[in-house]
Amino acid sequence: VTGPAEWSPSDQERVENEMESLSLEQALIDFEVANRRVVDLTNRLVEALEENRVLKRELELMRVRRYVAVRLRNLGPVRWLARWALGTGQHEK
């Protein structure tokens, strides 16, 4: 243990130099890790966006199918087909 009597400014300077060296080396490692994480996360983001786009399209399709199925059930085939054949394009509220 170095007590106050033996502690000198050169000791403090040595500690600071050692810490500077450790800090710089670790900062470079942290930078590499952070960079790898950014690359990895960017790739995952691209994949997630593509998956999101596909799922959104599937969801829209399912919504349309469900809407059509409900209309067919509620309006009855004849009335619905008549409207469809007339091509009014108007949906009943």
Binding site: V1, G3, P4, A5, Q12, V15, L22, Q26, D30
Partner: protein
């Protein structure tokens, strides 16, 4: 040859309390371990702070380093861990700088760590250490002085010896890590930015590698607490943590919250707390005496005696209080005075006051420089 221990104190501003913590660190007993102290100033912006701390450290033989840029707690802590590895230390203690250490810090924590090679970390016990706290009313008023912390820790050492309790996670307000664990577990993850939850992540990672996360009830450290972190902008006002960091923990360790809930339901720290308070009030009564007051009251200035009062109109129990620690003793219809005399092992009244020990060299030096912190 004694094991070597590096006590690393991370600091970010705090002129009012950091010198007190440094002074306290110089009193840590080095009979069981060779103790070196390193203060890591994370580029504190408070005017004059770094110059003052650097000068204080220089005069006390305490190592000091100020980062040229603010790193945040995880990366600042990592500097301490790396320094311990590079310097060949056996143990490293990572600590906040709003604490008061007991004299038995090194021997107590290192003693527990040496008892089992599977121990990856040992926390000190404290008035403020999240769910693992030893509850104390108004700790800043009652506990924030060196003699009290030394006395409490000594009393708890007599009660708990080398006992150790496993916990779901560690809190780095004051935690010892055997340096041998670092290559297995790694450093704190900088993904936690300016800090909070990095030690939870580290301790859960260490458990995944078969290491134990523990608390040593025989070592009591006073911890001022999170108010300093709100001031420093680490957490938002009204928060005690960083929600975004908690989400990272939830993602990485889906079982952690359930483990914590389970621990809280059967919290062994509560039982230890009951034992601890019973021991503290008994030891305090042996040293300073006890009084049965007609009604509950706070301690008077310089009053170290244990205060007892009867609870409720039928006086079924007695409330016992000493320096913010409280417990209740059932009287079972017997005379309060007789039950309390039996509990304390001595009759009501004052006891002779013990003389404080002589401080070690560095501590004496600190007392001269900073008399207001003694």
């Amino acid at each position: 040859m004694k094991p070597r221990l590096l006590l690393v104190m991370t600091a970010y501003n705090g002129k009012d309390f950091v010198p007190r913590s440094i002074g306290s660190s110089t009193r840590v007993d080095d009979t069981e371990c060779d103790v070196d102290i390193l203060v890591l100033d994370d580029c504190s912006p408070e005017p004059g702070f770094s110059e003052t701390i650097r000068a204080l450290c220089g005069s006390l033989g305490v190592q000091y380093y100020r980062s040229p840029r603010n790193l945040g707690i995880p990366r600042n802590v990592n500097l301490g861990l790396l320094r311990a590895l590079a310097g060949g230390y056996t143990y490293v203690v990572i600590s906040n700088s709003d604490v008061i250490y007991p004299a038995n810090l090194a021997s107590g924590l290192a003693g527990v760590a040496a008892s089992d090679p599977r121990i990856g970390s040992v926390m000190a016990w404290s008035n403020n250490v999240s769910v693992y706290s030893l509850p104390c009313v108004a700790p800043d008023e009652y506990l924030a002085d060196q003699a009290t912390v030394d006395w409490i820790s000594g009393s708890l050492t007599a009660e708990f010896g080398a006992e150790v309790v496993d916990t779901p996670s560690g809190i780095s307000f004051c935690i010892l890590i055997p340096t041998a664990a670092l290559p297995k577990v790694g450093l704190m993850d900088p993904v936690f930015g300016r800090g909070y939850c990095e030690e939870v992540d580290w301790s859960l990672r260490s458990q995944d590698r078969g290491l134990r996360t523990t608390v040593a009830p025989s070592v009591f450290v006073y911890h001022m607490g999170a108010g300093t972190n709100v001031g420093a902008g680490l957490v938002a006002a009204g928060h005690v943590t960083v929600p975004a960091h908690e989400k990272i923990i939830d993602m990485r360790y889906p079982r952690f919250r359930a483990d914590l809930k389970e621990f809280r339901a059967h919290n062994p720290i509560h039982d230890m707390g009951d034992r601890a308070v019973a021991r503290l009030v008994r030891d305090a009564a042996a040293e300073w005496g006890w009084v049965l007051a007609p009604a509950p009251r706070g301690p008077l200035a310089g009053d170290n005696a244990v205060l007892c009062s009867l609870v409720g109109s039928k006086a079924r129990s007695a409330a016992i209080a000493w320096r913010g620690f409280r417990m209740e003793l059932q009287l079972n219809g017997e005379s309060p005075s007789a039950v309390l005399t039996d509990f304390f092992g001595r009759p009501q009244g004052a006891a002779p006051v013990a003389q404080p020990p002589t401080p070690p060299l560095r501590a004496a030096q600190f007392d001269t420089i900073y008399p207001e912190h003694v």
